[in-house]
């Protein structure tokens, strides 16, 4: 019972935190420099991991789906099927999860230790709104960077798919591109792109929330980082569920 209550409280606080991000963002004196720096850090921190997993996913998916499609005699559809799976679901979700693991935990730990060592208070006293300087910039950075990372990851995945195809058979690059794009539609691309903005916002907000609300003590820094990953990952799946239903309602599936 008390678990349910604390869960509800936590949800409420997280929502208020997210609302505060929206409320603080349009105020004058936006921290552009810090935003750019955070964008760089966020991308730089996650790109190698995101890129390598995307490559492996694309290749493995291709190799594993090939026998099934062969038995139906539709091997030529393999590029499109892999591309659609990656663009619609695997790219956004896998990238989102890795992003949560790498960037979300980083933000949780960073803000957590800043809170514990009173750096956030020091900013407040120094006349800089720490919420705008630390939280808004990070949330903006994750919201803007994750979609770009997903686009790049999708492209890397399809490179993996192309190489995976050429391990067993021979496909030329123009044919591969034609196989994918002759069936691909805007509705295959836009809804996943939109949902990655939400994924990014969620990773940034949860990371900042957990870090910002770290209590005193070193172990709470670890706890912040850990909880940021767990909660952000859960939320990504939840958002994914909502996204699929919304796109379905809009007739975009």
């Amino acid at each position: 019972m008390s678990n349910i209550r604390s869960f509800a409280t936590e949800t409420g606080e997280l929502s208020r935190f997210a609302a505060r991000v929206f409320a603080e963002t349009p105020k004058p004196g936006f921290e552009w420099r810090e935003l750019l720096r955070q964008c760089y850090l966020v991308g730089n921190r996650s790109l190698p991991l995101v890129g390598s997993t995307a490559f492996i996913m694309g290749m493995v998916l291709t190799i594993q789906l090939r026998p099934a499609l062969l038995s139906y005699g539709v091997e030529s559809e393999l590029p499109y099927i892999v591309a659609d799976a990656i663009i619609r679901e695997i790219g956004p979700v896998i990238t989102g999860l890795i992003f949560a693991g790498k960037v979300g935990s980083g933000i949780g730990a960073e803000l957590g230790s800043m809170q514990v060592t009173e750096q956030i208070d020091a900013m407040e006293v120094s006349g800089t709104n720490p919420f705008r300087y630390l939280v808004v910039t990070r949330v903006m950075a994750t919201t803007l960077m994750l979609p770009l990372l997903v686009v790049v990851a999708d492209a890397i995945s399809l490179t993996g798919c192309f190489i995976g195809l050429n391990i067993r058979s021979v496909t030329s690059l123009p044919l591969f591109i034609d196989d994918i794009f002759r069936y691909l539609e805007f509705r295959d691309v836009f809804p996943p792109l939109v949902k990655t903005f939400f994924f990014g916002f969620c990773v940034g907000t949860v990371g900042c929330y957990k870090g910002y609300n770290a209590t005193k003590g070193t172990e709470s820094v670890g706890k912040s980082a850990n909880e940021a990953v767990v909660v952000a990952s859960m939320l990504i799946f939840l958002l994914d569920l909502v996204a699929v239903q919304v796109t379905d309602l809009l007739g975009l599936n």
Binding site: R33, L36, R37, C39, Y72, V152, F181, L184, E185
Partner: protein, 329 residues
């Protein structure tokens, strides 16, 4: 906090790369969807579009040239389909071209096929209304196929019983033993037996295919890929039906003849003797039997043709290999 120039340029490179990929893929999609570049609008009217949807493909002689732009109900019996096709098709499609509905495979998307018409005509202009041709629905074909198989089963049952009766009529055989007529009749009944067997097998096969198609599995789905094939299916089935009807007529003729012969024989009235001596009757019987022979040969040929039909070939081949596998060693 200073963001170093190096960091900024790396961030910029990454963002640019992502944006370029995104724009390139959107452009590619757009190109395939003909949303970018010139296009030609055409219209066609159908009484039933059978689930055609906006975005379905338009093909000209089997080549994708555009998509369905919109569907509009004009009145209680007419739906107007607006097509958007590549601009350069304005130099290819002529006014007498016909639009028809088809499907991309058995379960696949609906497509609009534009088929060139016969003879010369002007090139189409933007907004032209093309003549349309009734669609061949795979569902209809399947229904016919199912009905035919029932018919064939009935017919073959009739044929079998006739042949049995002739076979059992030993007196008749004795009487006809050394005549050419007897030989003919024997051969005819043997053929008829093969026909019956074939027809039975075919019925079972058609049933099997029908079941497979209904449950959406098996090779038929891929075999039926081209919508034009459905014309061939329909033709084959019509042929099969006419042959079956023919065989039925012949069989009933044969049956009535044999019944008459049998009755006469059992009543010991000696009519048969006289009948066989009567050249007119003999001529009638042998003509009947020749007809039966022709009919059954035709029917068998059709069965054979059916087996070699690309549509069912894969199915029969698999069936044969299964039969070989199950042979006792």
């Amino acid at each position: 906090m200073r963001t170093s120039r190096n960091h900024l340029s790396r961030l910029g490179a990454f963002v640019l790369a992502a944006v370029v990929i995104l724009i390139a893929s959107l452009f590619l999609i757009g190109r395939y969807q003909h949303l970018i570049g010139s296009h030609l609008a055409l219209r066609a009217r159908f009484s039933n579009v059978a689930g055609l949807r906006v975005g379905n493909n338009v093909r000209y002689s089997g080549i994708e040239i555009g998509t369905v732009r919109s569907l509009r109900i004009i009145n209680d019996t007419t739906v107007e389909v607006s097509l958007s096709v590549k601009g350069d098709m304005a130099n290819v499609i002529r006014r007498n071209a016909m639009a028809s509905l088809g499907a991309d495979g058995l379960m696949g998307n609906k497509v609009v096929n534009i088929v060139p018409g016969n003879g010369a005509a002007e090139l189409v202009q933007d907004g032209d209304l093309l003549a349309s041709r009734g669609s061949v629905e795979i569902e209809d074909v399947l229904r016919t196929l199912s009905g035919s198989s029932e018919n064939i089963l009935d017919i073959t049952d009739g044929l079998r019983s006739t042949v049995d009766r002739i076979n059992r009529s030993e007196g008749l055989w004795k009487l006809l033993q050394d005549t050419i007529l007897g030989e003919n009749l024997r051969r005819a009944s043997r053929d008829l037996a093969t026909t019956t067997g074939n027809a039975r097998e075919l019925t079972a096969d058609v049933r099997g295919i029908f079941e497979d198609v209904r449950s959406g599995k098996g090779p038929v789905g891929t075999l039926l890929k081209d919508s034009i094939l459905s014309y061939n299916i329909r033709g084959t089935i019509r042929r099969m039906e006419s042959v079956a009807a023919h065989a039925e007529r012949l069989a009933s003729e044969l049956e009535s003849l044999s019944r008459k012969v049998g009755d006469d024989y059992s009543r010991q009235r000696g009519v048969l003797q006289s009948a066989l001596r009567d050249t007119a009757l003999a001529g009638h019987v042998s003509r009947s039997l020749r007809n039966v022979e022709d009919g059954t040969r035709n029917f068998n040929e059709d069965m054979e043709a059916l087996k070699h039909n690309f549509l069912l070939r894969g199915y029969f081949r698999r069936k044969a290999s299964r039969r070989v596998d199950s042979l006792p060693r």
